[in-house]
Symmetry: C2
Subunit: 465 residues, 2 copies
């Protein structure tokens, strides 16, 4: 492919007066009375289109005058300093080839006008052609690359934990069943129950809700690992923060305690936000202008701030004494809700908070019991403007304590036999956290709904495309 | 965390006579009559363990003498030049803390001896502690990082295509059904069929077999994109090359034809193989010594070779005239089987082959029809030692030709309405390919079975952990 990405042309990688070919889609066309047309040509390589000037001496100038938004075009021409506003460089075309017309421009779903975000969601296959969803896609990619880079530079190994699992024991949420049984003719066992021994995996099988338990097996061998993959919740939640299918990042670190993992979370968030600010200033300027005026400033603040460590017990006291009335009353032992988290991060501290040492009764069975026997070594990162964005913990590595906790919660040792093996054979302190990738992308872009930061969102009643 | 990764110690990042702390697991312990013990301490950060020397003046030397394979240890000591063979540097311990013992060393499943690869597969939660599976994990990580880097450097965006899909129309293979319906009490419609309108997504829903059709929507907006995610086949194939759950990389490029994408495949394979050779020489030396003696040399050959372009039609002629008898007879129109592919790549050419322009009747509906109307612009990359490793094509971008092909194959336009939209609105030539990640890892490491290059393999009858 010998054509030039628009980003390279706009960055001045082709000298003035040289000939380049660009390929992309028309955003807008404007005809001048002087007998020439201005085409804004976009190829997705960056936020801005390049301006292509078509003079009426082109053989197919009549075609050029029929170009509408969405038409695919190959334009060859000379790089020039632009006299117009808004761009430094433009291309004066010597040839324009139309690769693909738009069938009936009047009904083209992505015609050049402002569409509502809900309308775009209904056209998920065409919405990446818009400014907003294109910018989201570039930020999403930038964040994912930065995450891989962050961990790779620090000696972490990416581990792919299984999507399909016969463990239904994690209790992290409702699960989707995966099966190849003939639904019209289900095999039955002698008690009349569905006989999953005849199913593909010989057992009842589900989609994973988290890779954590699996990836602990690799942390207890390779020391520093992380997952980055899809996870699933079959919860009937129609909110702006929930998806049935979403991507998670889960680092897990041997010989790390709660404060190590809190520092890792802080370092990672700063690293990836900095990457977006540095690499995609034009996309971020668009989000600040159109979506959330604080989009850039709050990222800059996050990068420059010291995350404040706060104990859950202290937070409860602050909330009880702050003089505010909350919808959900506060007392020691309750799970903090979004209004509490946002008050603390936005009003009380004005910076991201790492909240630590939650009551054990509101946290998962695998978290390490503190010496007070009331709290566990858990932490959440609460960011101004969004609330909880990361949840993590030190894991219970002491077999006797772990077994007592299983018994307390009515869980069986047998169901966790392989997980217990990690505590039987060379157990080590270890810790990790989980970051919901779509919540991160929503936070960074300022987009209100996670459905708009994943290409094809899956929610109750919707698995289209 | 202030301790040192073993890889940093062995690379000499700590000067001789400085004090370091390392944390990891005992591989072996050897006691000398002179009153000291040699501990090979491994933390997974690289292939080799570091040698820790424990003198009998340590307070807990009696504990040291009880250390067995798999025990977790924190060792602090002085970096020294090693007098022994096999390592340049070692640590003379001033303190050794035992973090975790091995319960009953005699029955520890990963005791220090040679285990069969099948035995390790039965202990997937502990096998990353072995040399071979640890090395596989590091190569797998190195390849995935190199793939992301390769595409990122070239301006590609990572796009996450959906795992759950209501499209059952791709025909790429048997699919898993995903459901939250109560299997003991299935809702029925008035014809007595299962009423999927009451299921979570309101429709019958499956696990994806490929992200290609979805990612084409992003290629037709952002030009250069790729997927890297899990895909699924509900095929009852118990072979060394098949998994029910595996990871795929699928780049998709607007304005690219078949030869562009063939070049991309060649460049990518060379790039990622080079990364492994450069970054993990110790792991690769182990594979060459223990798993496949050609492990390194065949990667070096691949990196240095020119991939040979060959037409399917020419390949058939070569196979027919080569004087060899194949299990599956060769004539124009048949799909090449592994014996044919390997003969061509290993014996006839002695280098990777990019085979092009296959008969349309053995290829998918979305591939671009060539002018001969008999073949399609498809390509496979065949590598010596493994056969097909990549499959790709130019996509049919002409709406009228695409619609004729749908009709020929008895597929309905309605089922492909959103895919057809890409051809109705600013259609462009575009191409892409798919690479099965586990086959790549198997190829690079020389491992015989894809079940040993993914942490928790899913195959018929097996979704444990």
């Amino acid at each position: 492919m010998s054509h030039a990405p628009v980003v390279d042309v706009l960055k001045g990688q082709y000298e003035i007066s040289t000939t380049v070919t660009v390929k992309g889609w028309v955003r807008t066309r404007r005809d001048s009375k002087a007998g020439l047309s201005f085409i804004a040509l976009h190829d997705g390589s960056c936020f801005d289109p390049v301006q292509v000037i078509a003079l009426n001496n082109l053989d197919n100038y009549a075609d050029v005058q029929r170009l509408t938004a969405g038409c695919a075009v190959t334009a060859t021409g000379t790089v020039k300093a632009s006299e117009g506003k808004g761009q430094a460089l433009e291309i004066e075309a010597t040839a324009i080839e139309v690769n693909g017309w738009v069938e009936n421009p009047d009904t083209y779903p992505m015609a050049a006008k402002r569409h509502s975000i809900e309308y775009l969601r209904e056209h998920a296959h065409l919405r990446p052609r818009t400014n907003v969803i294109g910018a989201v896609a570039r930020v999403r990619n930038c964040l994912s690359q930065a995450i891989h880079r962050f961990f790779h530079e620090r000696g972490y190994f990416w581990i792919s934990t299984p999507i399909l699992t016969a463990s239904d024991t994690e209790g992290a949420g409702e699960m989707f069943r995966v099966s190849t049984l003939d639904m019209m003719n289900l095999p039955r066992d002698d008690k009349g129950n569905v006989d999953y021994s005849e199913d593909f995996f010989g057992k009842e099988t589900y989609l994973t809700v988290s890779g954590q338990l699996n990836v602990e097996t690799y942390a207890c061998a390779l020391s520093k690992v992380y997952t980055f993959g899809p996870t699933f919740r079959a919860e009937n939640s129609n909110t702006s923060r929930h998806l049935a299918e979403f991507w998670m990042i889960e680092p897990e670190v041997a010989f790390a305690d709660l404060s190590d993992i809190a520092q890792l979370a802080e370092d990672m968030l700063k690293y990836v936000c900095k990457a977006v600010l540095e690499e995609l200033p034009d996309d971020m300027a668009f989000f600040a202008q159109r979506i959330n005026k604080d989009a850039i400033s709050r990222l800059e603040q996050l990068v420059d701030s010291e995350f404040v460590r706060m104990d859950y017990t202290d937070a409860i006291e602050i909330l009880q004494n702050c003089g505010k009335t909350f919808e959900f009353p506060v007392e020691w032992g309750v799970d903090l809700s979004s209004e509490h988290e946002r008050y603390l991060a936005e009003e009380h501290v004005g910076a991201p908070i790492i909240m630590q040492n939650y009551p054990k009764d509101i946290k998962a069975f695998y978290m390490r019991i503190n010496d007070d026997n009331k709290t566990v070594a858990a932490m959440d990162v609460l960011a101004p403007g969004i609330g909880e964005i990361i949840g993590g913990s030190q894991r219970e590595e002491r077999l006797d304590v772990f077994d007592r906790r299983l018994a307390e919660m009515g869980l069986s040792q047998e169901d966790y036999s392989w997980y217990r093996d990690l505590r039987r054979y060379g157990t080590v302190p270890h810790s990790g956290f989980g970051l919901g990738f779509e919540r991160l992308v929503a936070y960074v872009t300022g987009m209100q709904n996670v459905r708009d930061v994943i290409p094809f969102p899956r929610t109750p009643g919707n698995a289209q495309y």
